[in-house]
Structure formats: structure tokens, C-alpha cells
Symmetry: C2
Subunit: 408 residues, 2 copies
């Protein structure tokens, strides 16, 4: 039996406004917005003032409100809203990926403690229903990997830079003008945003909570002319790929740009679109493609979560309860193309296996196999860009191989 | 709380065997096969004989069996199994799309009457979780359309014929050798199989039960050299596209081959892969891609249904309960390329609007806009092939336009 839900909103930006609009267009959904808590006073708003409040307690302490929909930017304030809502017996819908990624284990425990659900489909890949599918549909499948393009803003930029030969600066500005970029573009272009999403998916795919800082991320903001030349010479594209997979009892993960051949399934995912590939033992590869940036795709996911609450849906975090001993590891290697210029010192000794290089116009690149930790090291030094080689995958180093290396 | 399920199987072909195998590999799933009812005696089988029976009542009347998994070919016998199982208080999992499409309204009513669910994710697009997503995730979204490639066998054949220049006969044989074709290939190549799937999706997308015979289907078995030349000359592919959409209070649907430009989202869906695009008012277009033929993708979907039954999942057919007055209609037009040879008489008068034609080597084609009923008429005459023109869509004819035509 469906419930009639009363909602309290925090934030009334694009997503909130779209949500308000669609709630009135949707016949099947029994939910109404009772109160909207906003920060800025004296701002023109398209609704009657009586629905707005500037006091969070008018939402959090209202016993009539069943569901708090949190749509603000600030992760710390958002986490407080989530905690207080659960303590006060309210369900929560949020799309705040950073807040979720940084606090996911605690949010899981708070849900157990207070018996109220937190749903967050809108936090990962916009309108693609990936969390729900991982929770519900793939819970019996032995999933090997999830990977894809998790950030619409950078995919838009890369499409313009690679396919339309725009400059990075112009492409970024265009993405911002279209409302695809987050309030702080560095979270996108330095690949923190897709890393937060990967963190969330790792919990729902493998039942492992990993802190975002443990996952290595490399952005797209250092792609140089020598990289673009490499792409052009080899007929390749560049995509910012987030991936995680299971090998033995370890989970490996990385977010980094990669040179992609035109036949790769992700090559045709352009502009603000996102894509997720789920590889199962039995279902094989499944690809989901949908818009990943903009207020409507996120609003659609938020709306689906609200709808799910009308029939008491909650994430069961089923893989957490399966008797596994999985842990996250960075003890692996990958083949990369490193480009740099000026006084940066990178030598063949940095590589596990060096494959070749190129030098010209004051810029260099070197290609070979490196440890993942080397990619992290380079991400913290200016002037170095890293792109995974075409076809490269993360290769776990087993203890046996390490032994062999120690005596080599 | 998860239940321990006891299963009774009907049929033990590839899907059943794969299912048996994976049930033993999956930690999280609490389900065991108690009995398997098979038809052929004296056949070598990979399990101990004690699990098999030739008497359907040993499954249907066993009070310990909670779930009947129906995996046989014969639609009439399958429907009897479904009915008797529900009457005896058992849930049912089936992948028999023909049986479902032909009896869906009655199966819906039987579920209401006996209070037990029938799940059938495996019946549509193999491993793609499309029914579950339409039921759960898109229930609040105003869906405009579903379309895609719903048949892996014909997509495999078309890929070989168009991209690898194989003959139709060779490509069909190859598909059969790989186990992609159904026991009766005419259901695939004449586009009945994707029509059954479209029938099922129309119920879950729009809440409308339509009889499969009301939907017009045109197959790929009459594609001629003049069609292949047309494709080559224009740089086009051919895909067998199933589609349904809402316009006003009407639902329109059609399954027919279409010339597809290389930039079309379905162009990159090759071989035995299936794809479904769902267009919502709010989520915009979502694309799902996965393997659509072979025992493993179907087995994966069957397994997910069994898993869902451990937590009492059932389809709610939510759109049926929304207050809509939608009905199915074929009163629409589409632009087609018709090819034919010999004594077949097609004239410009058959078209609502004639656009042009080509003649050579005893074969002809004509291009223009026709009524959907004309496509049905041609499907019943030998020697005529119909392919939707590139970019063509189904255009509903409003009563107003009809009025105008009557006086034209």
C-alpha cells in the first residue's frame, strides 16, 4: 500500500525546482512538499513565500514531515542534516556524493540504528539507476567489475577537446555555461567527483567501505598538446574512466583518463552522457548509458527515490552481509603514458617496465608499466600528466610475484 | 528477512543447467532445486536420476515446493503449468515470452486471484533488467517511449549480413550453430519473438494489455540484394527495431527492420547484443545494452527473479492502477522503403505520399509514406520487403487530419 508522503526540502536550486515541477505532473506519486529550507533571504523565488523557511528546525522538528530531501552543496552541513533527520525518525533522499563517499559507513550504521532509510540514486551517474540495479538485480550475481564514465562535465570537455579540437579552457567554460560543471570545477576536472561516485558503487557492488582518499584519482586538467598528438597519431580518444574490480579477496580501483580505441564501448559515450558497465559471472557485461549532468537527470533520480519511499524501499546493502573478507588494495600496476615538460625529473627507473618515449617542442612522454602508487605520487606533482595506455588494465600484484621481484 | 526457497523446475535444457550450476556458486542466494520435471526419458543427464521426474504432479502437487521455474518451449503447456502452480499457491518464474504475450492479462488476473507472483525478467532482452526497471525505477516518470533491439538472433544475422557481407542463409546457420536461434527460427526472423517482448513491455511501460496479433511485425527474412545496395549506397545499417510510444491517449507500436545511420545509438549494438532505450519526460533517454541470446543471459535473469522471490518481490503493474484511458492503435503512418520483384503489383497509389523509386536487375524499390495497415498487408504477401526509411518514425494520424483527408 502506498503512503502519502510529506516532504521537507533543503535547497531550492535547479534540482529542487525541477522536482517541485514534476511532482505536480506525476499522477502516480503521492508526495507533497510541505516546507523548503533555503539559505539566502530576499531572493526572488517562483513559489509563494509561505512554503519557505530559513530555520532548519522547521523541517527537522516537524513531526508531519516523513522525508527530508537534502539538495545543498556543503558536505558537512548536509551530513548534519542527514544525521538529525534519521535521529528524528525521518527518511532521507540525497544526491550529495561527496558527503556520502566520505561518511558512507557511518550513514549505513545510522540507518541500522534509527531504522530509517537513506536513498541516494541521484548521487551516482545522474539518471542511470545503477545503485538500485546493483542492490536489487545483481545481488545474486558474482560481480567481477564496475567501470565507466561517471562524470558528465569532464566527458563533455573531453568530447569538445578531442573531437571538436576546442581548447581545454573554452570547453570548460562551455560546460559551465550549460550548467554541467559543479560549483567547484576542480572536483570534476581533478577527478574527485567520479572518485566519490566510485566509492559509493564499491560499497553496493562488493560490500566494502573504502575511504575516498584510499582510491587514487588523476584528472583531465593537465592533458597537454603532446597527449593530444599521441591520441591523434594513434586514432584514439581520451575518456576519464572510473573502475573497480575484484581479484581474489581484494578490490582494486582507480579513476584516471585513458586512451580509448574507437571500437571501445565507452568511445560512443559523448558529451554530458555517463555510462556504467557491470560485469557479472553469469550476466556478462551490461552497459547502462544516460545523461549524467544537469538538473533534470539528477532530479529524475531523486524523484525515483521519493517514489520508492512510498512503498518503504530501503537499500539492504546485501553484499555487506555476505560472508566475504574483501579489502581494498592499491598493490597493482598499470600501463601509462606520462607526459611532462620543463624541469620535471621522470626516469626509466620510475617504471616497472619501460616501453618507449617521445620528445619534441620541449615536451616529453614516456610509456610503460608503473605501480598505482606512482600514479598517486605524480598526481601530487605539478607538470606531470598521466593517461592509461590504450587497452591497459589494472594488474594486481600477487604476493608470489612480489617474492619473485625481491630476488630479481 | 530472506526465505529459503525450494524450487521445482520444468525443463532442463541449457538455461536450466546453467541455473543449476550457478545456484551452487552463489553465496547469497537461499534456494535449492528439489525436483526437475523433464519430458524425454532415457536421456543422459549430468545429475543424479533421483532429482528428475516425468510426472508434472510431482512438482505441482508437492507442498514443499515454493517456486515453479518454467523453462519449456511449448506455450500451451507452459500456460497450464503457470495456472496450476498459482492455483496451488506457488510462485512462478518463467522466460516464455510467447506464452506471456498471448496470456498476459489473464496471468495478471490469476496473480491477483491467487495472491502469488509470476516473474519473467528472462522473457525480455536476456540479461537486461528492463521489466524490473520499468516497474520500480520508472514508475513515477512519464514515459514517452520504449524502443530497441529485442532479438539477439536476428541482430546477429543482420550484423553478419550487413557488416561482414555474409549471405542470409550462412548467417542464419551460424546463429543456429551458436545456439542463438530459437527452436523455431521463423519466430525470430519473421519478428514474432521481438513482438512478444514488445507486448510484455507495453504492459509494464504504459499499463496497457494488447494482444500480440494487434501489433504489426515485419521480419528480416525478405531482405533482398536491392535493399543491401540501398544500405551500401547510403552508408546505412539495418536493424530490426521494436518500438512503442504514447501520443495523446493512444499507444502505438511496431516491429520492423529499419535503415540506421552509423551515428544512431543502436548502430553500435552488434551481434547477439540487445538494447532498450527508455525515454522519460524527466530522465530523458536511457540506454540499456546487454547480451540478448544464449542460455547464460537468460539464466541470469531467471536467477534474479528467484532471488527477488526470497524477499517476496512481485510486479505491481503500477501503471495499470494509474487512472489512464490509454488504448492501442495502429492508426498511423511511417516512411518505408519497399522492395519487390516479379509479378508483385505495388503502385504509387499504395502510398500516402510517394517519394521515389529505383528499378534494376528485375528488382524494384519504392520509397514513401504508408499507413501501418499497409505494412501488415504487405507482410502477408510473398515477395515484398519493407524496411523503415532512415530516421523514419511512426506518425499518429489525428482525427482532425483524417477529416481533412476525407475532403481532399
Amino acid at each position: 500500500m502506498k503512503k502519502n508522503l510529506k516532504l521537507g526540502l533543503f535547497g531550492f536550486g535547479c534540482v529542487g525546482q525541477g522536482l517541485y515541477h514534476v511532482l505536480h505532473e506525476t499522477k502516480g506519486l503521492k508526495a507533497e512538499i510541505k516546507k523548503i529550507c533555503v539559505k539566502t533571504k530576499n531572493k526572488e523565488r517562483p513559489l509563494d513565500q509561505s512554503i519557505f523557511t530559513f530555520d532548519k528546525n522547521e523541517v527537522l522538528l516537524d513531526p508531519e514531515i516523513d522525508v527530508v530531501v537534502e539538495l545543498i552543496d556543503d558536505p558537512a552541513a548536509a551530513f548534519e542534516i542527514v544525521k538529525t533527520s534519521l535521529q528524528n525518525g525521518k527518511a532521507v533522499v540525497t544526491a550529495n556524493k561527496r558527503m556520502l563517499a566520505e561518511n558512507l559507513e557511518e550513514i549505513y550504521q545510522l540507518q541500522q540504528k534509527y531504522g530509517k532509510p537513506v536513498l541516494y540514486e541521484g548521487s551516482v551517474c545522474g539518471s542511470i539507476p545503477i545503485i538500485r540495479n546493483l542492490e536489487e538485480y545483481y545481488d545474486n550475481d558474482l560481480i567481477k567489475s564496475v567501470e565507466g564514465i561517471f562524470n558528465g562535465s569532464t566527458n563533455y570537455i573531453l568530447t569538445k577537446v578531442i573531437e571538436e579540437r576546442k581548447s581545454y579552457v573554452d570547453a570548460l567554460k562551455q560546460a559551465q555555461d550549460l550548467g554541467f560543471a559543479e560549483s567547484d570545477p576542480s572536483l570534476d576536472v581533478k577527478a574527485f567527483d567520479p572518485k566519490f561516485k566510485l566509492t559509493i558503487l564499491i560499497a553496493h557492488t562488493f560490500g566494502v567501505f573504502v575511504k575516498p582518499e584510499n582510491i587514487i584519482n588523476f584528472g583531465i586538467d593537465r592533458i597537454s598538446s603532446v597527449d593530444l598528438k599521441y591520441a591523434k597519431d594513434h586514432g584514439l580518444g581520451i575518456k576519464l574512466v572510473a573502475r573497480a574490480f575484484k581479484s581474489g579477496e581484494k578490490i582494486y580501483g582507480l579513476v584516471a583518463p585513458q586512451f580509448i580505441e574507437s571500437t571501445h564501448p565507452l568511445a560512443s559515450v559523448r558529451n554530458e552522457f555517463n555510462a556504467v558497465t557491470v560485469e557479472g559471472a553469469f550476466a556478462e557485461k551490461q552497459l547502462f548509458v544516460g545523461k549524467g549532468a544537469g538538473s533534470y537527470p539528477t532530479g529524475s533520480a531523486v524523484l525515483s527515490d521519493i517514489s520508492a519511499l512510498t512503498y518503504d524501499y530501503r537499500y539492504e546493502y546485501k553484499k555487506l552481509h555476505q560472508d566475504n573478507h574483501l579489502t581494498f588494495s592499491n598493490d597493482a600496476t598499470a600501463e601509462v603514458v606520462v607526459s611532462f615538460s620543463g624541469p620535471v625529473k621522470i626516469s626509466i627507473a620510475d617504471f616497472e617496465k619501460f616501453k618507449g618515449g617521445f620528445q619534441g617542442n620541449g615536451q616529453q612522454n614516456m610509456q610503460g608499466i608503473v605501480e598505482l602508487e606512482k600514479i598517486r605520487e605524480w598526481s601530487q606533482q605539478d607538470g606531470i600528466n598521466v593517461i592509461l595506455a590504450p587497452g591497459a588494465s589494472i594488474e594486481p600484484r600477487t604476493p608470489v610475484e612480489k617474492q619473485a621481484l625481491a630476488f630479481a
